[in-house]
Every structure is written in structure tokens, then in C-alpha cells.
Amino acid sequence: MTSDTRKSDWNNPDITPDLVAQHGLKPDEYERILALIGRAPSLTELGIFSAMWNEHCSYKSSRLHLKGLPTKAPWVIQGPGENAGVIDIGDGLACIFKMESHNHPSFIEPYQGATTGVGGILRDVFTMGARPIACLNALRFGDPSHPRTRHLVSGVVAGIGGYGNSFGVPTVGGQVGFHERYNGNILVNAMAVGIARSDEIFYSAATGVGNPIVYLGSKTGRDGIHGATMASAEFDDASEEKRPTVQVGDPFAEKLLLEACLELMKTGSVIAIQDMGAAGLTCSAVEMGAKGNLGIELNLEHVPCREDGMTAYEMMLSESQERMLMVLDPAKREQAEAVFRKWALDFAVIGHTTDTLRFVIKHHGEVMADLPIKELGDEAPLYDRPYEETVPQAELDARKVPNTLSNRDALLKLLASSELCSKRWVWEQYDHLILGNTVQQPGGDAAIVRVEDGPKALALTSDVTPRYCEANPFEGGKQAVVEAWRNITAVGGLPLAITDNLNFGNPERPHAMGQFVGCLKGIGAACEALDFPVVSGNVSLYNETNGEGILPTPTIGGVGLLADYTKHATLAFKGEGQIIVLIGHTRGHLGQSIWLKEIAGQEKGAPPPVDLALERKTGDAIRPLIQAGDLTTVHDLSDGGLAVALAEMVMAGGIGAQIDALPQGIPVHAALFGEDQARYVAAVPGKSLKKLLQALDAAGVPHSAIGTTGGDALILPGEKPISVMELRNKHEGWLPKYMSGKDSA
């Protein structure tokens, strides 16, 4: 009997080349499907393949290259392959984290795009049993003068805040950048970090035949069913209104889902659990079965729906938010269900595990899909796309770049630039203090978040310098990792692992693919050299408009550990008369610097080279001093170089500085604004200087005392003083003014 219904269903809709194309499948990919199942797919099956084999779920263009990343270390409990990465932080605790993008949805509807991005990444973390303790984000917008930019900034920031604030997790860090190459394709990357007991982590592989599969959370609607449905007449019922593909986030439901899931996990009823993210029910069910070497049968009439008349196709592809799927221990069903009823959430048994290794979808008894479950994932296309390496740009000679402004004015201009201005306007819309564990708020090098009542704390950061990656993907990839490593080191943390969010253009263009490959090699090399493995991540390709790709933007989210949160460093100057020490080699590298872009109006040259051994040696010399409590004022040097770092230290502490001994042998503006890597600025009272210098000498790290703290102005050599107030006005002023629409940008 079943075979009859199957037959009628398979033959029913004409799977035309057009329909195949609308599902984002290439002709040869469709051939692959036919070969795999030995017949034409039903419409529901076509939908399932399109979901499983798209770039987002199958990583078909990137998989090959991701394999090269270092993912192991003694402290890694779970590397890539699960919902999030897991590392051991000692005392029976684990840190679980991941970053994910929501670029395209946020461009269409910035508020909802951002909210659902945050919601998705939080679910990835708590589906593994962790309570989220912090969020970060990395945002890239188009040029400030582009007509859509202000609207996008305002919506995205409100959306990230709207979700995280209500959910109740502090958003403690991130980045915001502007560049015209994001005019038509902004980036919204969100990272979530949670804590669990290391022996209570939940995974997605199903076990046991005949175990119930339970649907948890909010109801299913027609949200986010991909473009193909909208474009094809078959699904567009008589209604006039185009079905919006925009998903709406419901942080309230997510908060309930978090509490219910954590409570459920304590009942011992969860055999496996998986959030429904991209391609919802399809992806989560297939993953649970395939990972556990089991088949899955779903009976869709039991799926809680929010709309009438939803078809199997729609239910399998819906991306409604705030939902989970779990394999339940049948003996504990009542307890499990009671938890979800208590939190007023849906709990429905919608299927069971089987020993057939088939993925079978039934709707009111009719078989809508019957596919080999392992092959859905394992046999997804894998591409070795042709790529073209970026031709490295020539080194730029700092002496040949005209210096048109005084260094004082250049500094003020940089502090009031879109890239380097204070992002307070953004992070004041994020509740960064909730939970009462935020030791270092936004505005420092890395955020510091205490774990429970301490003494442990995590150091968290997200970094990447896209203009470096554009000029030299390999060096840029390395730099993104070392900057994250340096930021964690600068607060006294021991860098442990990263998550990455690889945002690139169209992989079918050899140039963009070359950027991807180059950056990945750089990331891999840096992770290897720094013992800083990748434990989770996400790839976002096809970020282009009208044929032009975004700047290659591999965002790195770094996690480090502080054994005792009271022993950390911040960038604020803390007292008068302290000696300011510049640590590392200053060569005056101006190529691809912010100074070059903002002051000289050029974007060229090679990016600063990254010496991984030097980077490691330098950081490893500084960290123990902070951990011993001997060093409390440290700032790492990055965008804008030494001058900007000093200004930030002055502003943060409200204490001035007199600089009188810049590195010799290079032009002053290059010494002040060059972006050489592996550098830090520290400040110590005279009595502690010896200890610092001895430690640096012992490690073979170059250093020089460049000035003294004190007064209420920053005094650069040969320049008029800049008062703390003037620095702050410039630095704090730009973004609020821009967002009020009253600027001239």
C-alpha cells in the first residue's frame, strides 16, 4: 500500500529543470540525486536535497579547505562538527562557544535579521547543555555616506540588543566597521559563549532504535521557506500577498526554551538534542540520525503548526525560530513533558528512530519522502573550486607618503573616523552588565566575564582586519588570529581556542575563492603556531552585489582563560608618574594602515607582516606578569598604531601622558601611526619597571620607555598638548552625531 502512495507522489509534480534550478541545485547535482536514489525525487524530497546540499548546510565549496585547520589540543573536548565547540576550562567546567552569520537576512530586514542571528547562535550553545554567559558580535556596514547605512546600523544594533537584552545574556564585545565594499552586503556575525559541567554536555547523535523523536519549543509557520517556493506557482496559493521569507525572532520564547531545556537535561531524559537552525526540521533530523547511524521516521501531522494547511514540503523546510528536536528516553517521557508544559512550550512526539538508515517522512499516513539518510549528508557535492591567489601588493615606503597634517591633527582625525571612533553608541544599547559578572566591559582589549562566583574568568574577543585580508589573504588571515590572541593576552588571559566566521564573496569566482583559500591558510598557520585551535565556526559565501565581493572578512572569535579574575590588566592609565613602555619592534609599517586611508586617502601597500614566533614570545612574556599582579596597565597595538593606543589609554583613565622618546630611525608619523604587529604598550610605577624590563629581556623581547603618565593631556613629541576632553569629544562624538543624521557624512 505504501508503495502505491509513493508512486503517485513521485510522479505527481513534474520536477522540471526550472524547478530544480529554483531549488538552487545545478543540473549535475540533480543527476547526482537521480543516481543516488534511482528515480525522480518527490517534491518534498527535492526540497530536502536542496536544503541539505546548499552551500550553507553542506559546505560544498569550503569543506576541502576547512580540513586543513588545526582543531586539536589537550583542552579541546569537542572540535568542529557539533552545534558548538567545547573546551575544558578546569574544575569540571567546560566553555561552549560558536559564531554564526546572518548577513543576507539582516540586509533585507536589519532588526529581525539581527535578532534571529543572535537567537540562532544562542540555541547552538544551549542545545549542548550550556547556560549562555556572554554574547559578542562583529558588524560591517557600507560607507557611512551610503544612503542605507544609517538605517542598517540602527536596525541591526537594535535587533542584537533587542534579542540579547530580553533573553538575558550580556553582550560584552564586538567590532563595528564601515567600508564601501559592504554597501550592498553588510555582515552581521554573532557569537555566543556558554558554560556547562564538562561531564554534562549534550550531543546530537541519536542512539537506540524505536526511541521517540520530540519536537520542542515554538510552533512551525511558513517562515523563511526559501525563494524557490515563492517563485513557483504551485505553492503560491490564491492569496494576493507574497509570503514574506523574513523570520521574526521571539526572545521571550527563546528564554523559556533555554530554561526548559536546561531543566529537561537534568531529568536524564535527553538521549540526543539538536536545535532547528537553517533548514529546520530537515537538517536537524537528518543530522541526528546520520550521526547515530540510525534511520528516522517522522509523522508530520503531529508537528505543532501555527498556520493552517501546511504541507509536508513547507514543514520540512520552514525556518521558524526557537525550536529544538530531541531523542527522548521513553521511560522518562512524563517528566520531560511536564517540564515543557510548565514553561508553556510545545512538546510533541513527531516520530521515532529506526534501524533502516532511511529518512522517511509521512504526512497523514502518506509517504512524502523516503531517502537514504547517510547519503543526504555524506554524498553532498564536494567542490575543489578553481582559485587564483591574490597578487601581493608591494611594500609601501613610509618616507614616500606625503604627510599633510600635523601628527596632532592626524590623531584627532583618526579618533573621529568611522573606523576608530568610540562604539559606545552601539554597546550602550546592549545590556552588558546583566548577570553581574562583567569584569571588563566593552571598550577594553578583550571582555572579561567571571565564571559563576569565580575565581575563574573568560577573556573574549572578536577580531579581523579586512583590508589586510584583501591586500594579502595569507597575512590577513594570520593577523586576524594573532590580534584575537593578543587581545586576550593583553588582559592577562591564556588564549585557548577560537571560533571563526568566514565571510567571503562568490566561491565560483576564482579570485574570491583564492581569498578564501589564502585566508584559511593564514588562519591555520597562526592557530598552529599559537596553540590556538579552531573548535567551531561558520562559512558565509556569496557575499557580493552586482558582481563585486565584500572585503574578505574571516572574523575570529577568541576565548581565553583567567585563573583569577582579580589579576587582570586594563588599558586605562592608573596613576601619575608611571613609566610608559612600548613593547615589541616598531618599524613604521604604514601599508594598509588606517592612517594611510584616512589621512593620505590611499588604500595600498602590503599589510604589516605577522611574525608568529615573535608574537608568541612577546605575549608569553607579558602574560605571567599580569597574572602575578605585577602589571595592571596593558594595551595591545592594532588599528591606528601607537598614537591611537596611547590616546585610548589616556581617555580610559582620564590621566594624560607625555611622550618624549619615539623609536628612532623612522619618520615620526610612521612611528606613531604604523601598524606593526606583536606590540603592546604598558605602564608601570617606577618601582616595578625593573621587573618588567627583566622579564622582557629574558624573553628577548625588545622594549623602550617612551614617556610618563600624568597631567590632563596627551603630549606627542613636538606637538601641542591635546587635552583629555578634546580627545574624548572627538572620539565619542562621531557615531552619535552620525546616527542622529545631523552630520555631513
Binding site: 537594535a158 540588543g161 533587542g162 537584552n165 530580553s166 533573553f167 538575558g168 521571539d250 526572545p251 521571550f252 520564547a253 528564554k255 523559556l256 514553561w343 508553556a344 554597546w427 550602550e428 544599547q429 546592549y430 545590556d431 552588558h432 552588565l433 546583566i434 548577570l435 553581574g436 559578572n437 562583567t438 569584569v439 566591559q441 579574575y565 582579580t566
Partner: protein, 229 residues
């Protein structure tokens, strides 16, 4: 002092306030579920914590104002028991009629989280007795709808009866332009009931109880309460 903290669906700062209560009283507060009908016997202080009860989807605090447990909270207040509503808790108190007025969208229309100075406007309450009148304290705020408003009559009564507990101000205690983060009338950050036993306030004293988190000025409030009963 026996304390109880209520969890509504969407509450999210209950752990923060529990930590502060534990620190001040030396005992763990009781956690009470919104669907419960009674407060634990002998409860002296009920706290409605911060968060987004029911997503704050209708008006902030409106749906929570009708929760089962609120009947018990009203009875507790009527008996002269202490009630503290922080942020969303303050919104619930005004929505359920335990305090007058209403909290509107912030004048700037954005959610705002930052450190904020407050002037202690009265020492005459068991919530503020360990502060000095006029003292400036640093706590934090984190809200999108904290713009306190009430009719003229109510405002006059609040002022004449010395029922404004806290006002927003600058670090030096002045209340000039820019001190008030949300546009509330008379820079009101918190108010007391007529019997001075119910306090609603937008700022979060519970997040400023450790030096390492930015200061300990929030402790005074919990210590005042601990001393009262």
C-alpha cells in the same frame, strides 16, 4: 530578614538580585514561581526582579501584573510587607496598581545600559536608611522603558510626601542636561508607596555590589533592608 524573589516567564535578573540579598542578609532568598498562590510563610520582603516578563510584549510589566502570585504580593503589601520592584519589577508594580504612574519608552527611544549616578532623595525609608539624603551613588541602568510619568496631582503628592527615593544625576550630584537618561519627570528613578514599604526603581543596585564590577554603592539598599527586619 526573610526574602523571596519571584520568577515570571522572561525574568532574567533574579540571580543578580539573589546574590545581593544573600550578601546582605547572609541567607539565600526563596525562589517563588509566578504560578504559585502563596509566598513562603514569614516572608518579610518580596522582590520583583528585572527582565522582560512575558517578553514585555503588551506594555512592560502588564501581563505579569495579572500573574497568580500577584494576588499574594498585593495582600503582602496590604499587610505592610516590604516589596521591591527593580526595573521590570517597577513596571509590574505600576501596572498592577501597587505604585502610581507609568513607565513610558525612553525619550531617546533606545534601550540604554550604562553606569548611572543617582541622588538619594530621601533617607526616610527602610530601603534607604543607610544612605544619606543627597548622597550620590553609582549604580547601573539597563532599560528601554524607564521614562516615569504620572499626572500632576500624583507628582505633587509624591514630592510633598517625600516619596521620591532616587533621582538621576551627574557624578557631582547636579541634575543639569544629560543627567537623566530616559526623560522621566523630575528626574525620578524610584518611588515609594504611601506606607513607604513598597519601592519601585528602574536602576539596578544589585549589579553594583562588588568593587571589581565597578563599585559597591548598590549594597546600601540591601543592607538597609537587612537591618529593617
Amino acid at each position: 530578614m526573610k526574602t523571596a524573589v519571584i520568577t515570571f516567564p522572561g525574568s532574567n535578573r533574579q540571580q543578580d538580585v539573589m546574590r545581593a540579598l544573600q550578601q546582605a542578609t547572609g541567607t539565600a532568598p526563596a525562589a517563588v514561581w509566578h504560578g504559585d498562590h502563596e509566598l513562603p510563610a514569614g516572608t518579610d520582603l518580596v522582590v520583583l526582579p528585572g527582565g522582560f516578563s512575558y517578553g514585555d510584549y503588551l506594555r512592560c510589566g502588564a501581563i505579569a501584573g495579572h500573574a497568580e502570585i500577584m494576588t499574594a504580593v498585593r495582600a503582602h503589601a496590604a499587610r505592610g510587607g516590604y516589596v521591591l520592584g527593580i526595573c521590570n519589577g517597577f513596571q509590574i508594580l505600576v501596572e498592577s496598581g501597587l505604585l502610581p504612574g507609568i513607565l513610558m519608552r525612553n525619550a531617546g527611544l533606545r534601550f540604554i545600559c550604562k553606569m548611572q549616578h543617582l541622588q538619594v532623595a530621601t533617607q526616610n525609608s527602610d530601603f534607604t536608611s543607610l544612605y544619606k539624603k543627597g548622597q550620590v551613588i553609582k549604580v547601573c541602568i539597563a532599560h528601554g522603558e524607564g521614562n516615569y510619568m504620572a499626572d500632576e496631582h500624583t507628582i505633587t503628592a509624591l514630592e510633598e510626601q517625600d516619596r521620591v527615593a532616587f533621582r538621576y544625576c551627574h557624578a557631582d550630584g547636579t541634575r543639569t542636561l544629560g543627567a537623566n537618561p530616559n526623560g522621566s519627570i523630575n528626574d525620578i528613578a524610584g518611588i515609594l508607596s504611601e506606607n513607604r514599604r513598597v519601592l519601585g526603581m528602574m536602576p539596578h543596585p544589585e549589579n553594583l555590589i562588588e568593587d571589581i564590577m565597578g563599585g559597591t554603592d548598590g549594597r546600601g539598599l540591601f543592607a538597609s533592608l537587612a537591618k529593617a527586619a
